[in-house]
């Protein structure tokens, strides 16, 4: 099993969810995050004083999949989340030791 963590632009969430749904991947966890990479922030002004907005809003999508589904899932995320402009985000793949479904206490691939 592997965990996929994808940081994407917020307005791309619906597209990414639909693209994964077409592959039969129905489970994921999303959170609103802020971050930056090479997409620099910009300067704003409030009541006459300047400040830099470094952290930009993003969405983090997390899911755990059996290893054989990871490649197709990553391709789907990349094609649906890409705009070609700076700030599109990143995908990370992590190893998973174990997964347990709480309701049935199933383990491993059966749990994801």
């Amino acid at each position: 099993m592997k965990k996929i963590e994808a940081i994407i632009k917020p307005f791309k969430l619906e597209e990414v969810k639909d693209a994964l749904g077409e592959l039969g991947i129905e489970g994921m966890t999303v959170s609103e995050v802020k971050g930056f990479g090479r997409q620099k922030g910009h300067t704003e002004i409030y009541r006459g004083s300047e400040y830099t907005v470094d952290f930009l809003p993003k969405i983090k999508v997390e899911m755990v999949l059996p290893e054989d589904r990871v490649e197709t899932a990553v391709k789907a995320i990349v094609s649906s989340a890409k705009t070609g402009k700076i700030g599109d985000g990143k995908i990370f793949i992590l190893p998973i030791d174990e997964a347990i479904r709480i309701r049935t206490e199933e383990k491993g691939d059966k749990a994801v």
């Binding site: 704003e44 002004i45 009541r47 006459g48 004083s49």
Partner: protein, 458 residues
């Protein structure tokens, strides 16, 4: 008239007939019923003067309610412009200040502000007793053409509370709650009524010819001087001025701030409209027009200047501009023609933007712009009475300056000394740790916007 009496008498008798018929066993009750009917029929008719007094008083009571709603306006505006972690604290201060203001005004403020100085004299301090008690003519036009004694008290009490609440925004996010409550109580109970008595209480400033229709000086700049004293002694918020740079601290809710300003504008219908002290159609309608024109011009003036100076249209500046226009017209709303009202408001809108920028430049940290809106534009509005409108003239301008100076000196020194005294006795500012964590949790024990439930659900 006589035919009406007879008709009334007949109707009353007919109305009591069923009782007369059914109560044959109780002749005494029947006689009483007829006597009551006769007395009713002989009651004096309502005169046109009575009806007029009722209309005047009704408008004044509505005006009192409108000024009251300004406290909701202040609560929304101030909480919108501070950070989420201090919201409960600011709301608490706003809630308590109006309560304290009304109570102290009842206990001593009203009679300190209207102590029955000799009209035309040079009174500056007098007290006509604790508590409220209506004179015999208190419910009639003999007391005042436009309102009863009780209406008089309530309308003025709402003004007092308004002056006190101006300070809470300027000292937000770092003042100790208990210290603030002590300051507000003494400030609204003693300082506000004394300076108010000099003009509205028919004291020496009134004799001098100083003019302040609805309180640009008496209410707004008084609050502003208190705010200034507080801001100087408190010092800026942690992290506001760092290494020679001014770091913005963003308000957490622009919707709340906007709601607040519109509620304040609504309240001003009563604040200025009621200061006519009657429902005089000509004066009240003119006052409402000048008030609204100045508010509108203030918004546009602030937007214009802020947008051109600061590259982007800042909502909080535009909101401050509307208030600046309102404060600016308040001293002379009944004296101005539309064009003057627009000019006064537009200039106030520009002044407030400059003042906000200057305050930050000289390290006066004022989270909501209270000093800029109420003190600086309060002074502008008071001076405007000598520059525009029916009273414009050099001698009026001098009278205005004297009033501004005298009330300014008294109020600022009073507030400054009071803040210093409170600081020495009980401390004025929260600790740096508490300020960083937010006053909601440390001072009040509850967050305005709890995220994870602090108390577990069962």
């Amino acid at each position: 008239m006589k035919r009406n009496y007879i008709a009334l008498l007949i109707v009353c008798l007919l109305a009591t007939l069923p009782r007369l018929v059914l109560a044959q066993e109780d002749p005494a009750a029947a006689v009483e019923a007829v006597a009551a009917a006769v007395e009713e029929a002989e009651a004096p008719p309502i005169t046109a003067a009575d009806a007029l007094f009722t209309a005047h008083n009704l408008w004044m009571m509505i005006a009192a309610a409108l000024v009251f709603i300004m406290h909701l306006g202040f609560a929304c505006l101030e909480s919108g412009l501070v950070r989420a972690k201090n919201t409960t604290n600011i709301l608490f201060k706003n809630t308590m200040v109006v309560c304290i203001g009304i109570l102290t005004y009842c206990i001593c403020g009203f009679n300190l502000m209207y102590p029955e100085f000799e009209d035309g004299g040079h009174g500056w301090l007098q007290f006509s007793g604790f508590g409220l008690s209506s004179p015999d003519v208190g419910m009639t036009a003999a007391y005042a053409a436009g309102y009863t004694y009780w209406t008089d008290f309530l309308f003025q009490a709402m003004f007092a509370a308004t002056a006190a609440t101006i300070v809470s925004g300027a000292v937000a996010e770092r003042i100790k709650l208990s210290s603030f409550l002590v300051f507000s109580t003494i400030f609204v109970a003693i300082s506000y009524p004394i300076t108010g008595s000099w003009k509205w209480g028919l004291g020496w400033l009134n004799t001098l010819g100083f003019y302040d229709f609805a309180g640009s000086t008496l209410v707004h700049s008084v609050g502003g001087w208190g705010a200034l004293a507080g801001v100087i002694i408190l010092g800026p918020r942690v992290g506001k001025y760092v290494n020679g740079k001014i770091r913005p601290i963003l308000g957490h809710s622009m919707p709340l701030a906007t709601i607040g300003v519109f509620l304040l504008w609504l309240g001003w219908f009563g604040f200025n409209g009621g200061s006519v002290l009657s429902a005089d159609p000509g004066l009240v309608s003119l006052t409402l027009v000048t008030t609204c024109l100045a508010a509108a011009a203030g918004g546009v003036g602030a937007m214009t200047l802020a947008w051109s100076l600061l590259k982007k249209p800042d909502l909080s500046m535009a909101l401050n501009g509307v208030l600046a226009g309102l404060v600016g017209i308040t001293a002379g709303a009944d004296q101005m023609l539309p064009m003057s009202a627009i000019l006064i408001g537009f200039i106030a809108g520009g002044i407030v933007v400059v003042s906000v920028l200057v305050c930050d430049k000289v390290k006066l940290d004022d989270p909501v712009g209270a000093i800029s809106v109420h003190l600086v534009c309060g002074i502008w509005g008071t001076l405007a009475v000598g520059i525009f409108g029916a009273k414009a003239g050099f001698s009026q301008l001098i009278a205005q300056l004297i009033g501004i100076g005298a009330i300014g000196a008294f109020t600022f020194i009073f507030a400054f000394a009071l803040f210093l005294g409170i600081k020495a006795v009980m401390g004025l500012r929260v600790s740096e740790d508490e300020e960083r964590e937010g006053l909601d949790v440390r001072e009040h024990g509850n967050e305005a916007y709890p995220t994870f439930q602090p108390v577990p659900e069962v």
